[in-house]
């Protein structure tokens, strides 16, 4: 019975040691042995070993991954989501055999390969052709396989003219194209993509995602995709596992359910609320509803304030920053008559109702500017707000990274010099 399961992960665990067990220098280790031999205190642990008695045994080690079990079926495009340190990258490292597990096992059917950072293993002195062979071999291809696909790879890279030139003379664009061409022709049964690896190279990242779509579309291929970019996960993956603190916490594989759960956790995790703005005013909470905002649809941001005395609020603005820290929008309460306003002692909720969130899908940070007789604060990074793709448009859209900042509401019509312009919009 040929099974559908291509990866089986059982009780997989990975233990990391925190800090250096060895000092890294032989002389220091010898010195340490000498001290220990004479019954003296270790000369290299005094620094930083503050809570020695209470936490030593437990803090020397950390489980990057603990008792994780799951199966991946043929044809699955599995997204792995979770915060930093949730164990996603560790899982990928174990799957791609870069490091070995502390416990448990992984069983794999078929060839597994990872899309690597651009040009891993490229040598600048070698020609394009030589590097294709070298890179292919590093990625686990056999020579006849590379020979068979050489023309295809060269053509795909668009570097035919320079294939016998050392790659150090290539432009960075050619370099990326060549590197990607090799990876794209690897044809593994299971493709691993870590978004983190592709950071800093937008073109490569785009191509990786394009390649993933191709691979996924070809039947029988399996993709494992690790990303912080929820909209990418949403649009590419047909199942999702969610990780938290080194363990698998998802109960289902449903993309939407798990993304929602991740977001609600992320919101809770990010809050340092209640936050004191002054002796008299406290920011109790900042809330976005729905938890995940759909692009071009309604969203509400609620600021909950607790004041001990009445005060006159002169400014209340919500600041929206993109992931890179650029301010994208400001919701100024003065424009809508929210401020100035007299706040009575007790609880007040300020609700910013956004009729259509014309934001490109992505992760945004919310800030608050608040000014009253008692306090004047400008807070950034209060909370994350995730905007997801809406599928209502009915046409394939450009990837979020290529769509700029704003989604403008617009209509189109057409006209020629001869015809009277049609009045109806297209």
């Amino acid at each position: 019975m040929p099974s559908d399961t291509v990866i089986s992960v059982r009780n997989l665990s990975k233990l990391y040691r925190l800090g250096e067990v060895s000092t890294g220098v032989l002389a220091h280790d010898l010195n340490r042995w000498w001290h220990r031999f004479r019954g003296k205190e270790d000369p290299y642990t005094r620094l930083g070993a503050v809570n020695d008695r209470t936490a030593k045994a437990s803090s020397d080690y950390v489980w990057a991954l603990r008792d994780t079990s799951f199966d991946v079926r043929r044809g699955e495009v599995l997204g792995v989501i979770g915060k930093n340190g949730a164990g996603k990258s560790t899982l990928l490292k174990l799957l791609s055999r870069v490091t070995s597990p502390t416990g448990g096992e992984i069983k794999v059917r078929g060839r597994i390969a990872a899309l690597l950072e651009v040009g891993t293993g490229f040598h600048p002195e070698l020609t394009g052709r030589e590097n294709i062979f070298l890179n292919g071999a590093i990625l686990g291809m056999r020579k006849p396989e590379i020979v068979r696909r050489l023309d295809e790879i060269v053509e795909f890279s668009g570097c035919e003219r320079y294939v016998d030139t050392p790659v150090k003379r290539y432009s960075s664009g050619m370099y990326v194209r060549l590197a990607f061409a090799v990876a794209a022709h690897l044809d593994p049964d299971i493709l691993i993509v870590d978004e983190v690896l592709a950071v800093g190279d937008a073109e490569f990242q785009q191509r990786c995602i394009g390649k993933m779509k191709d691979v996924a579309a070809t039947s029988g291929r399996t993709v494992i995709f690790v990303s912080h970019n929820l909209s990418a996960v949403q649009s590419l993956c047909n199942s999702v596992i969610r990780m938290q603190e080194g363990t698998l916490v998802s109960a289902t594989r449903d993309v939407q359910t798990e993304i929602n759960l991740y977001l609600s956790n992320a919101q809770r995790g990010n809050s340092h609320f209640p936050k004191r703005l002054s002796a008299e005013i406290t920011l109790d909470a900042l809330k976005v509803s729905p938890g995940q905002v759909a692009s071009r649809s309604r969203a509400e941001i609620t600021v909950s304030l607790e004041t001990s005395v009445a005060t006159r609020m002169t400014d209340a603005c919500i600041l929206i920053y993109d992931a890179k820290g650029t301010r994208v929008a400001i919701l100024d309460g003065r424009e809508t008559g929210l401020a100035p306003m007299r706040l009575a002692a007790g609880r007040t909720d300020l609700v910013f109702d956004i009729a259509t969130a014309n934001l490109v899908p992505g992760t945004y940070n919310l800030g608050l500017y608040f000014h009253s007789g008692l306090t004047n604060v400008n807070l950034t990074d209060l909370m994350e707000m995730t905007v997801l793709e809406t599928s209502a448009l009915g046409v394939p859209t450009y990837p979020a990274e290529h769509r700029g900042f704003a989604l403008l509401d617009f209509k189109t019509r057409w006209q020629t010099p001869d015809s009277a312009p049609p009045t109806a919009s297209a």
């Binding site: 099974s3 199966d71 096992e105 078929g110 060839r111 002195e125």
Partner: protein, 303 residues
């Protein structure tokens, strides 16, 4: 040292019915601890194309942008040999077993250089390839083996230099008695022994340098000193009797002596010490591969 806490057995809600198929149907099984002797050498065979690509890369990369290219392989030993001739033969008047000094030193330095280069180059395997090793899996042993092979090219050129000099001296009528059949039969054996020993020592050091970086200084320095503990610039026959048995503990001593014996007809060639040397080499290589295999599994976590 305290033991790490063991993973709890209670697993997070197992999703779906997990399959419990037998192991035969899987192509790859990744498990934590393998036995000391589970070396997965068959993996090495599967990656043989990569081995050749590395050999080619090492060679091309090393000499592509130098003016003289592979000529450096000739100039280096020639200059070293000339220096030796002037200092050890001309100034210090060390014995060369009655041979022309140039020939004597060439026959010693060619194999020694090969061994020394193998050790120093393979000893940095993990440190210089940390970036690559951290991203993609292939049998790590491919890297040091490729170095040992690409270094053979350097050796071949020096070897040709030795043969050329030998023929020139023979033509001049020097009383040298090379054993031509010995050369044909012994050369491959001696090369394999040197390569294996160099690889063994090199990968042991490379495994240790992941923990102690300062060991790499020791290697460059130590290998220079080791040359004087090996009969490279002097014949074993000139060593006083009471030190000689110590010298013979050095596994490179029989190899260098055997070289001179077959090429130049002088030197203490005997099967006993050569067998000792082969045994030592095998043991070193085995220990090296075992340590290397242990380190390659967790190396990424410690660098």
């Amino acid at each position: 040292m305290e033991n790490p806490p063991s993973p709890t057995q209670a697993s997070a809600a197992d999703i779906a019915p997990l399959e419990t198929g037998d192991d035969e149907t899987w192509d790859l099984i990744i498990r934590p601890k393998s036995g000391w002797l589970e070396l997965h050498l068959e993996d090495l065979w599967r990656y043989r194309d990569l081995l050749w690509m590395f050999v080619r890369r090492d060679f091309v990369a090393q000499y592509k942008q130098t003016i003289l290219g592979p000529l450096w392989f000739l100039i280096q030993p020639l200059l070293t040999t000339l220096t030796f001739t002037i200092i050890f033969s001309g100034v210090a008047k060390l014995s060369t077993d009655g041979l022309p000094p140039l020939l004597f030193y060439l026959a010693g330095t060619a194999p020694w250089n090969y061994f020394a280069t193998c050790v120093t180059k393979t000893s940095t395997t993990f440190v210089t390839n940390a970036n690559l090793f951290g991203k993609v899996y292939f049998p790590r042993l491919v890297t040091p083996i490729s170095i040992v092979i690409s270094t053979l090219i350097q050796f071949a050129i020096q070897f040709a230099l030795l043969l050329g000099t030998l023929i020139w001296y023979l033509a001049k009528g020097e009383p040298i008695t090379p054993h031509w059949t010995g050369i044909a039969l012994m050369s491959p054996l001696l090369i394999v022994m040197m390569a294996a020993l160099g690889l063994g020592v090199g990968i042991i050091v490379s495994a240790l340098t992941t923990k102690y970086r300062d060991l790499s200084f020791l290697v460059t320095f130590g290998i220079q000193l080791a040359m004087y503990a090996t009969p490279v610039v002097y014949p074993l026959s000139s060593v006083p009797e009471r030190y000689r048995s110590w010298m013979e503990l050095n596994p490179m001593t029989p190899v260098i002596e055997a070289y001179r014996a077959v090429y130049l007809g002088v030197g203490a060639f005997d099967w006993g010490s050569l067998t000792y040397s082969a045994g030592f080499t095998l043991a070193t290589l085995l220990v090296g591969i075992i340590i290397f295999n242990r380190v390659e599994k967790t190396f990424v976590d410690t660098v």
